[in-house]
Amino acid sequence: MPIHPGDEMDYKLGNLPGHKAPLAIPFVPFQSNNPPQYNSIEGFNRGTIFPGLDLPWANTVNKTNPAENTLLGDLSALDFAAFDLQLFLDTHPNDKDALDIRNYYLGQIEACRKEYVRAHGPLTIADAEQDGHHNWLNDPWPWEYMERKD
């Protein structure tokens, strides 16, 4: 039934098109505690460590990433896993299993980070000294990537 200006309006009259289909309501279900997780590399490639939240557009998924099997790739994947768990813990602060897994990743990150800094230079300003030299300004910066810097 067509609607004319001046007709009495109700919020249900806004359906589209032809007043038949309802508007979509986006909804992300609340995760349960200790949900299943990908390993850090697969999570990094896919963009989430939680299979339950993994719904890629048109099922397009990275099979790998440009830095896989390098120190940078390992560190990036571990950082990503720890960060994804950090977001999860914001809304699930009492999930002991998630806390344990995040602590495991933080330990791995510390080791990997030391190795990376030794090989490629400082990650933070706190790492920026080598043999009495302030090496923070050494090239390359992250946007000046070069293949060999992996």
Partner: protein, 92 residues
């Protein structure tokens, strides 16, 4: 961006900079049209710059602690995206 204080355990900072990208950028083929599109997602009303600053501003009126944390984490994560976008663009 770093506002740092050297504490007993080393550097503590409100926002500290890490000299790496969140995701590795390797451009094989240049594509100026795509570069233009990525730039459109950087600034402007629908860009990452505005989005991350909105998250960080909305924190101040957020009553729930869980969501104060989420807005903080998502907003700071947006600044990683900004560096990613520009790093792609200069090579595209």
């Amino acid at each position: 961006m770093a506002v740092g204080i050297y504490g007993e355990k080393g550097l503590t900072a409100m926002f500290s900079y890490e000299k790496k990208l969140q995701y590795p950028v390797r451009i094989k083929n240049t594509n100026p049209a795509l570069a233009k599109f990525v730039m459109s997602q950087y600034g402007g009303p629908d860009g990452e710059l505005g989005a991350s600053m909105r998250y960080l501003s909305q924190r101040y009126s957020m009553p729930w602690p869980e969501l104060k944390g989420l807005l903080t984490d998502i907003g700071t994560s947006g600044t990683k995206m900004l560096q990613l976008q520009r790093s792609q663009d200069i090579h595209l």
